[in-house]
């Protein structure tokens, strides 16, 4: 098993190198001079020369690439062109929001999707099945941005004043402030990796609320996350429901399931203990694949609900030619994607002993 994981990790190295090359190439062919875009159309040549020199843009491309590779390998992602802050600091600020949103969206999609898929397969061709699958088909078809806006309209306007009303934008109700965990735990003077982790957790407001036992903060952050998470999670939900149904149907027709029934096991037990574990493989693949889609959807969801996450930041960086931020953010996103694929592959081996490398 260890050699398998090591081999899989080794395979990701050339892919990661390819990602770095591609992102570097794309940023360099973006039309327009970053200096004129960031400093304004009328920036003087002298100012632009200083800007280019400060960010190493006056060096030959090959030299820029080598120095970029060098700093990346040391864990330094450079400084943002726009506000000169380290890209890693921006990541600690922005990534937790997106991660929090994606986790809630994925939880929603997985729990509801698997439940619907199981019910649908179990009551095949019943009214419940037809309605569920029609919803699943519609769910895959609604664009994230349309669903997000319709949800915002429904829950913020139509249901205003009822207990079901939910906020249509932002992370917290105005007036509510968040005390960073680092301050609460007296870590202000620490600047190492521990501080980075604590800051990261602190910026996930629901986690912050939980860890510091501020239930008001936790509930408020959660309420603000519901609509974006539902909007982002609906397409994955529909896909998961469909795959669960079809892979469970395949398994339910097999002989060993009939044997289990013949033994007199209850239907629920047959599905839970016998059928579902063997139907998990395609489901895990699909859930893993959805995570890449979530990151794409996050750009749109964050735009609609006014959430300051990675998607928004990357979009802003691309349109304002902030090379260091584009490179850093995309690299981290690609890395996350590779790690998720690795976890999916390893979980195959766990779920299906036949796939365990000998």
């Amino acid at each position: 098993m260890t050699t398998y994981i090591v081999r899989r990790l080794l395979i990701t190295i050339p892919v990661l190198f390819g990602v770095i090359v591609l992102v570097f190439a794309i940023t360099r062919i973006l039309p327009g001079d970053p200096c004129r875009i960031l400093l304004g159309e009328r920036a003087t040549d002298a100012a632009c020369n200083v800007f280019s020199h400060a960010h190493g843009l006056d060096l030959p491309i090959s030299q820029q690439f080598v120095s970029y590779l060098g700093s990346v390998s040391r864990g330094d992602l450079g400084n943002s062109f726009r506000d000169s802050r380290p890209v890693t600091a921006l990541l600690i600020e922005r990534l937790p929001m997106t991660l929090e949103l994606s986790i809630f969206a994925l939880l929603f999609a997985t729990i509801v999707g698997i439940t619907l898929g199981v019910v649908s397969a179990y009551r095949r061709n019943s009214a419940v099945d037809v309605v569920t699958m029609a919803f699943a088909n519609l769910g895959v078809s609604i664009p994230v941005f349309v669903l997000g806006l319709l949800l915002a309209f429904t829950f913020a306007i139509l249901l205003k004043g009822t207990p079901f009303a939910l906020p249509p934008s932002g992370r917290l109700t105005p007036g509510l402030s968040v005390v960073p965990l680092a301050v609460r735990w007296g870590l202000q003077n620490d600047h190492g990796i521990l501080r980075a982790i604590v800051d990261f957790l602190s910026n996930m407001y629901t986690v912050n609320g939980l860890l510091s036992a501020q239930w008001g903060l936790f509930l408020d952050a959660l309420r603000h996350l519901i609509l974006p998470a539902v909007a982002l999670g609906t397409i994955p939900l529909a896909i998961i429901a469909r795959i669960t149904r079809s892979s469970l149907l395949d398994v339910l027709g097999l002989d060993y399931v009939r044997t289990a029934r013949a033994k007199g096991l209850s239907d629920g037990r047959v599905v839970r203990k016998h059928a579902l574990p063997n139907a998990m493989l395609p489901m895990v693949t699909i859930i893993g694949l959805q995570i890449g889609g979530l990151l794409s959807g996050a750009v749109l969801t964050e735009t609609i609900f006014g959430l300051p996450g990675v998607g928004q930041a990357t979009y802003d960086a691309i349109t304002s030619h902030d090379f260091a931020v584009i490179e850093g953010f995309v690299l981290v996103i690609a890395l996350a994607f590779l790690v998720i694929n690795l976890i999916v592959d390893i979980s195959y081996a766990y779920l299906d002993p036949r796939l365990r490398p000998s």
Partner: protein, 312 residues
């Protein structure tokens, strides 16, 4: 007692009897037999009708500002049958922020969405299949280079890569389509490569090679036609995704530019009026969802019709 038929009676005259079973006719019959696919075909039929006859059905030019006709901007839909006073001009989907008839704009949007779906996926299929074909047939170093490049492209979240490509090419509908097409290439390359790998081992390919068929002939006359099915299935399902993604780019302001009546850009432009004029988000949004719904249903139907493993 039943008459005993002579062997000659049982012989079938090949010239007069059975119609030749056509692969395409069978497939079409299988598609039409499925309820989902029929619903999909009806939806896409309506869409096609709207696209072709948009100029006839729509009462107004989609880009014409109608302030001279006594309308107010952002007016809600006015349908005389549903109690809207006859003195007010009828606008089925209301008026947008620039005083244009929303119904005419949504109708004309059908043209763009159809064209976007087919062109984008067509582009991705042609380039992707060609790369997959080369990789699968050539194997060795060429295959490694092509497929590893595809792996790298697949690591990016699709929309982010598309945004970066559009940023490099400049915003616009054609560039947005190109970006979404490029992002979709690896999917088709992988599918085509894997079917080529299995087909090239077949006896009929070995036979053709033994008969002296050139490599080009082998690839395009023997291997390609027999590797197409999975690509067609993926392609029909991919149209739905392409329509969604191009609309998403337009929503972000990177695709179709105003005043083009493209649904994604209409939702993006008017989302600021969500709380005052929700119809401006609702109608183009629903049109977009229904189009994608239609392509999804039809794609599922084609997949089921072409998959011999499924029992019908």
């Amino acid at each position: 007692m039943a008459a005993i038929t002579s062997p000659a009676d049982r012989l079938i005259d090949p010239l007069t009897t059975t119609r030749t079973a056509s692969l395409w006719r069978d497939t079409l019959a299988n598609i039409v037999r499925q309820r989902n696919a029929r619903v999909g075909l009806v939806i896409l039929g309506i869409l096609l009708f709207a696209a072709i006859f948009a100029d006839v059905v729509a009462a107004y030019n989609p880009d014409k500002v109608l302030f001279d006709q006594g309308i107010k901007r952002l007016s809600a839909p006015c349908i005389h049958l549903l109690g809207c006073p006859a003195t007010t001009p009828e606008h089925l989907f209301g008026i947008d922020a620039n005083g244009r008839d929303e119904f005419s704009r949504v109708l004309h949007g059908a043209r763009i969405s159809l064209q976007v779906g087919f062109l984008t996926v067509g582009f991705a299929i042609v380039i992707g299949s060609l790369l997959g074909l080369i990789a699968g047939y050539a194997s060795g170093r060429i295959e490694t280079v092509i497929m590893r490049t595809m792996d790298v492209l697949l690591v990016f979240p699709a929309l982010l890569l598309a945004i970066a490509i559009v940023a490099a090419l400049g915003p616009g509908l054609i560039n947005a389509q190109l970006a979404i097409g490029i992002v979709a290439i690896p999917v088709y390359a992988r599918i085509m490569r894997s079917s080529v790998l299995s087909v090239r081992q077949s006896d009929f390919v070995t036979g053709s090679r033994a008969l002296g068929e050139s490599p080009i002939g082998l690839v395009f006359r023997r291997i390609l036609p027999n590797s197409l099915t999975p690509t067609i299935v993926a392609g029909t399902l991919g149209i739905a995704g392409a329509v969604l993604d191009v609309a998403a780019l337009s929503f972000l302001g990177l695709g179709a530019q105003p005043p083009t009546s493209e649904w994604g850009s209409m939702v993006g432009q008017d989302r600021g009026y969500l709380f005052t004029a929700p119809h401006l988000v609702f109608f183009p949004g629903v049109a977009l969802a229904m189009t994608v719904f239609g392509f999804n249903l039809l794609g599922d139907g084609i997949r089921d019709a072409l998959d011999p493993r499924l029992n019908r």
